[in-house]
Subunit: 128 residues, 2 copies
Amino acid sequence: MKETLKAFKVLSDETKMRILNILLERECCVCEVMQALEISQSKASRGLSALYDVGFLKQRKDGLWSLYSIDKDNISGYKSQLVEAVQEALKHNKKIALDKERLKKASRNGARCNSSFDGDAICQPNAT
Amino acid sequence: MKETLKAFKVLSDETKMRILNILLERECCVCEVMQALEISQSKASRGLSALYDVGFLKQRKDGLWSLYSIDKDNISGYKSQLVEAVQEALKHNKKIALDKERLKKASRNGARCNSSFDGDAICQPNAT
DNA sequence: TGCATATATGCAGGCATATGCATATAGTGA
DNA sequence: TCACTATATGCATATGCCTGCATATATGCA
């Protein structure tokens, strides 16, 4: 039961729901998530690891990069239903569409994420 | 998006998830929910109204009683997927089975809920 | 009209979560 | 070994949620 509650709770957060959505497009490193969602590095990293902890994501390392993707092979039962619910709920959402647009232009180290680009400064507050 | 997040959030709480589950069995008044889950009156009432606010439940009044049930006619899309995910996640859960057992014995005013039976006192802490 | 019962809700305390900031950690290449 | 970059995380703070307690509200009945 605790596990189930955690799965619902992780997804009841805008950032994490958006992260899950772009990962449905393709595998991403933390850096690309930052760029796609225009969020800070710590926010991206924490969001990803929260989704990982609950079992929605798998992770692999490639040099400096930490690459996350949907753990399709291990998502089943209610968890796959949750992922489908997220997709269904947001399939016509504007913000999500923007995220996906930006994701296309995003790239590993393409933006020199941590230094020159500072998501913290750019990211607007919780406007919906 | 806010609406979607609220739907996930409401269900990321044990009490509300259990309430949703027993309502899948049948319509209940607040009193019966208290008895089935062995929780306090305010907890039952607030849980029900939270689920109502998000659109999972409908409500009708019958004299003193406030009767809640799953709003099947208006639950569609991602919300019905969420309800299904809850059912799937908890279909073999022991606590849920107990809730349903107690629900069978529960009745409107059968326990003189507010006075003699005090859920607050009986209900054990958050053991899982 | 007054009492009993069922439900809703204001308030306050406690707890969990989200997040920015700063920093630690770990690869990479010179 | 050192500088650089990507990622993870400790700390402090702000915010929101859960819940019990007490009380208000509403309905039925004598």
